[in-house]
């Protein structure tokens, strides 16, 4: 079985600064990390590998520094890493990203299962996974909270708004996972030491045979036009003050007036 797991490097902070002119994220001086849900996807891949045997390829699109998350994926047990890096990929929306990732999947070839985290914490679109499945014309299972592979099918539980489903899709298929699916392991130091000796590839647009009108900014129909401060709305907040007990008494008075107590 060949599993492709797609990982993204995201800023390791909730307090990201944006360039006020471009609306783009300012990455300088901000530590980065493996997108948390992608760690769940890697863990799912490694567990399937341990159970059934598999070659697991980790793939990331990003600047050269994104190699860090691929090294982590290798330390966690992935076998090969592919960094898709080219100025022509920069500024991609989810359409252009899914095109680029699908081109990489095709070039690697022979895949059975593609795994994504449900969403990335920076963009939070949850679109790249299903869009990549559409690019490849394969079935998808989104929101998987469990995963198993049997007889050429991937079988997952999905937790939806008011129901839970058990579904199966014939391989090759794409699955996006939620945090509930597993508890990602820590990479063991011994595996970290071995990780750096595993094969790593860097591919640009030409390596992928990608049409540059479909990658990066030219390939992105959507763009950020404006970035703005959230509007301030309710200016007439009534404030309670005093000691903890005094504030508690004032809140209780209010709740009493509202007939809540």
């Amino acid at each position: 079985m060949k599993i492709l797991v797609f990982v993204k490097q995201v800023p390791d902070t909730d307090d990201v600064k944006l360039d006020p002119k471009t609306g783009n994220i300012m990455r300088e001086g901000v530590a980065s990390k493996l997108n948390p849900l992608d760690a769940n996807a890697v863990e799912a891949a490694i567990q399937l590998k341990e159970k059934y045997g598999a070659t697991v390829c980790a793939i990331s699109m990003g600047p050269p520094q994104a190699e860090e998350v691929l090294k982590k994926a290798l330390a966690l047990g992935c076998d090969e890493a592919y960094l898709l890096s080219d100025r022509a990929f920069g500024g991609a929306d989810t359409l252009a990203t899914s095109y680029t990732l699908a081109m990489a999947a095709k070039k690697i070839g022979g895949y059975d299962l593609l795994l994504f985290g449900r969403h990335a914490v920076d963009g939070d679109t949850a679109q790249t996974g299903p869009a990549t499945a559409a690019q490849l014309g394969i079935p998808q299972i989104t929101l998987a909270s469990s995963i198993d592979v049997q007889d050429g099918y991937v079988i997952c539980d999905r937790v939806l708004e008011d129901s839970v489903q058990k579904v199966r899709a014939k391989l090759p298929a794409l699955v996006t996972v939620t945090a509930e699916i597993n508890q990602p392991r820590y990479p063991k130091p011994i595996n970290i030491m071995k990780a750096l000796k595993k094969p790593r590839f860097v591919w640009n647009a030409e390596d992928l045979g990608a049409d540059k009108t479909r990658t990066g900014i030219p390939g992105s129909p959507s763009s950020t036009k404006e970035v703005l401060e959230p509007p301030k709305r309710n200016a007439d907040t009534k404030y309670f003050s005093g000691s903890g007990e005094e504030i508690a008494a004032q809140i209780a008075d209010m709740l009493h007036d509202e007939h809540l107590i």
Binding site: T13, D14, V16, G23, D93, T94, S98, D122, T125, A126, Q127, T128, G129, P130, A131, A133, A134, Q135, Q140, I141, L143, I155, R158, L160, E161, S163, V164, Q165, K166, V167, A169, K170, A179, P221, S222, S223, T224, K225, E226, V227, L228, E229, P230, A235, T237, K238, Y239, F240, S241, G244, E245, I247, A248, A249, I251, A252, H256, E258, L260, I261
Partner: protein, 332 residues
């Protein structure tokens, strides 16, 4: 094909088992505003089998037209047949806008349409509108929620977005409103490679925050897991539920079903207490329509106070246990 050739506002009329999803009515309501701006008609696109009875509801809540696509392969939702069917009708009618609810189904389907129609798709928009340049934009919270972004799809058509539930109020139903039902046939087959093996209703743990009248939510400023006991006690005294913003779910203190906000639940209880929650935009979109918002935070400038009816700049550890005792005393 020029983009001016694309006309019409479409709402994907998500239904399962013959029941419309609540987001459909919300999107129809918002579409009225868009229509006032562009003058384009609003069409609800209804896919399924034996679902024509839903057309009246769609008309009553604001659809001018219903495009009805019935096919055995569309009886139960599955991504690839829905993708194929919707692509065919969208390519035929060329709407300028397609809106989907940002539900699990909507977010499963819409990205595939983005690819098949080769267009843009904005994820989980909290608002829609036209800016000073007459460009249709979708608002999304960006990067931790401290900032809002206006996403635009300048050239490609249709302009598509999934829109977060509970952002808009459905209009008052127009009793007896009628419109044109356009019945479309599509060439589509059930997906032999995708199968729902079992469906079960979600176990109701009795602890769901959705539908709760009172919610007490804790956030990043909660110092220790054991402090949640007092928050839970407060919630229970008021007949409500304990909830949280994302940090407390990320660190494993509470399950995901307790999470309010962009990547959690959107709720509108009558009363919500925000305890040690600073109030990122992503949190606010999950609770901003609550009836009465009460916030306790030790930072005076916390954004949560901007949307609060009542506030206290204080250490929650001094207030919450005291409030629990005070309520107990008054109830006694």
């Amino acid at each position: 094909m020029a983009k001016s050739d694309y006309k019409g506002i479409w709402v994907f009329a998500e239904q399962q088992n013959g029941k419309l999803n609540g987001t459909v009515l919300e999107l129809l309501a918002k579409s009225q505003e868009l229509k006032e701006h562009t003058g384009e008609e609003i069409s609800a696109v209804l896919l399924g089998k034996n679902v024509s009875h839903l057309a009246d509801t769609l008309f009553a809540y604001g659809a001018d037209k219903v495009i009805l696509v019935e096919n055995g392969a569309l009886e139960n939702y599955s991504a690839r047949p829905y993708e194929a069917a919707l692509t065919q009708v969208a390519e035929k009618y060329k709407p300028s806008i397609i809106l989907y609810g940002a539900t699990s189904l909507g977010r499963d389907l819409a990205p595939r349409l983005m690819v098949s129609l080769n267009t843009g798709l904005t994820a989980d928009a909290i608002d829609l509108g036209f800016d000073k340049d007459e460009v249709f934009y979708q608002t999304t919270p960006a990067y931790g929620g401290s900032i809002l972004a206006h996403i635009v799809i300048l050239e490609a058509r249709p302009q598509m977005a999934t829109v977060r539930p509970m952002m808009f109020e459905p209009i008052e139903p127009r009793v007896g409103a009628k419109g044109e039902i356009i019945t479309e046939t599509v060439t589509v087959e059930a997906d032999p490679d995708y199968e729902v093996l079992e469906t079960a209703p979600k176990q109701d743990t009795g602890d769901s925050i959705e539908g709760a009248q009172v919610v007490v939510a804790g956030g990043r400023g909660i110092k220790e897991e054991s402090d949640l006991t007092a928050l839970k006690e407060l919630a229970e005294l008021l007949g409500g539920k304990l909830a949280a913003s994302r940090p407390l779910v990320d660190n494993g203190w509470l399950p995901h079903e307790k999470q309010i906000g962009q990547s959690g639940a959107a709720i509108k209880p009558k009363y919500i207490f925000n305890i040690a929650i600073s109030g990122s935009v992503q949190y606010q979109v999950g609770m901003q329509n609550s009836g009465c918002i009460i916030s306790i935070n030790h930072t005076k400038g916390a954004p949560i106070f901007d949307i609060s009816h009542y506030g206290a700049v204080a250490d929650y550890r001094s207030v919450v246990p005291a409030l629990v005792e005070e309520i107990k005393r008054r109830k006694a």
